[in-house]
Symmetry: C2
Subunit: 240 residues, 2 copies
């Protein structure tokens, strides 16, 4: 029933245009009553994005199942991949919808609110993981936004290729870029900020217990002995 | 005229609620005709955000005026500050609107589309600046999203304080966080990615001509001589 309503709706959207199609048209083609439509979809806009609510629920459950040993940035990247999977499961539908969404401002707005809700789900998880950390909330919001932007960059590349490129490869590449910036081998505020933090009482590694790398930032003109001294100091402090 | 329409609208929104106020109510209180309202505002939603279109135009002009020596991340942070200035110029109005926007889903959606347009303006500028760079488009999208998220994190802190905290300090702090991650002293993909890039033909500093720092990432357990050797190799390669 639900699937046949979606199929009927899309057939009409493509034939007549989104604005010109009414819910009555959709139910007539699907051979069901109006009440059946509204049992599944609160509005005509919702039939365009039939799987987003389910995907958001899945993402929330996935993040809720996380343990303390899950690396937070990798975890939100994996959560974002759930959205990609939903798109990639039905390439023809996803590409058609993408074209429709670009033409109809109301659908674009609807999509933006969905993206916002995904982003807030990721940010809420990260805020929990970064709780008590200096700038934890800020960092959570920035990483969530960066992950969503990267995911959508990869997803759009795939959609613009009419589903011909490799969706997973596109998104994996984009998410690896973000993990390279924020992942476990990166300092909380980038290396320069980390180096500037030495008096902040959190230690050289920004208070992260799972740190296993040393990042040294040095002016190119600095003499080598100065750089080595800096490393020794850093290692000494971290060994405390 | 425009200002008095905004004032009348907000007086009614606060007294009766947004949904319960019609454009007719607003023009009656302001003492003008309906046509005057629609000359300034395409819809009732637009009167809630009377300055966003002007601010977006100002941002676009500001970014268009950039020169090749402007550091791109600093430039988009300054562009984001134009939005803050608009909010901070009228704290009472901004705080009232924030409360209203949180209660009315249609306004929340409107605001999300404005945020999206700001983000696309920043991304378009960055895409131009990063043109021809590996992952330039991806990097532009990620930085634009991070800048917007940081700006909004600072802005929301200020709005939640009912305009009592220091708006500029909140947003400056948040934007400094992003500049610490993506600014000129940071490698394009973070230090680990940079270190992994050595065979990529762009040199150790990721192909950036204005690089003046050396970033070394080392496992904590590595012996000191190994780290020094790594630095020597890096400096030697960069001096080529």
């Amino acid at each position: 029933m639900r699937a046949s309503l979606v199929a009927a709706a899309f057939q009409l959207f493509l034939e007549r245009g989104y604005e010109q199609t009414t819910v009555d048209d959709i139910v007539a083609l699907a051979g069901v009553g109006r009440r059946s439509f509204f049992r599944y979809f609160p509005s005509k806009e919702d039939v365009v994005f039939p799987d987003h609510e389910g995907c958001l629920a899945e993402m929330t459950a996935f993040l809720g199942d996380s343990g303390p040993t899950d690396e937070p940035v990798a975890r939100v990247c994996d959560a974002a991949r759930l959205v990609l999977r939903m798109y990639a499961e039905n390439p023809t539908f996803s590409v058609q919808r993408h074209r429709l969404t670009r033409k109809v401002p109301g659908l674009r707005t609807y999509e933006l609110s969905m993206v916002w809700r995904y982003e807030r789900a990721l940010a809420a998880y990260l805020r929990g993981r970064f709780a008590g950390r200096r700038d934890g909330t800020l960092r959570a919001d920035v990483i969530a936004a960066a992950v969503v932007a990267a995911h959508n960059n990869g997803l759009r590349s795939w959609l613009r290729s009419d589903g011909r490129s490799d969706a997973t490869a596109e998104v994996d590449h984009a998410l690896a870029h973000v993990q390279g910036i924020f992942g476990p081998d990166q300092a909380p505020g980038g290396p320069a900020q980390q180096a500037a933090d030495e008096g902040a009482g959190e230690g050289r590694n920004g208070g992260r217990d799972d740190e296993d790398v040393v990042v040294v930032v040095s002016r190119r003109g600095a003499p080598l002995w100065r750089v080595v001294q800096e490393i020794e100091t850093t290692l000494g402090r971290d060994a405390d």
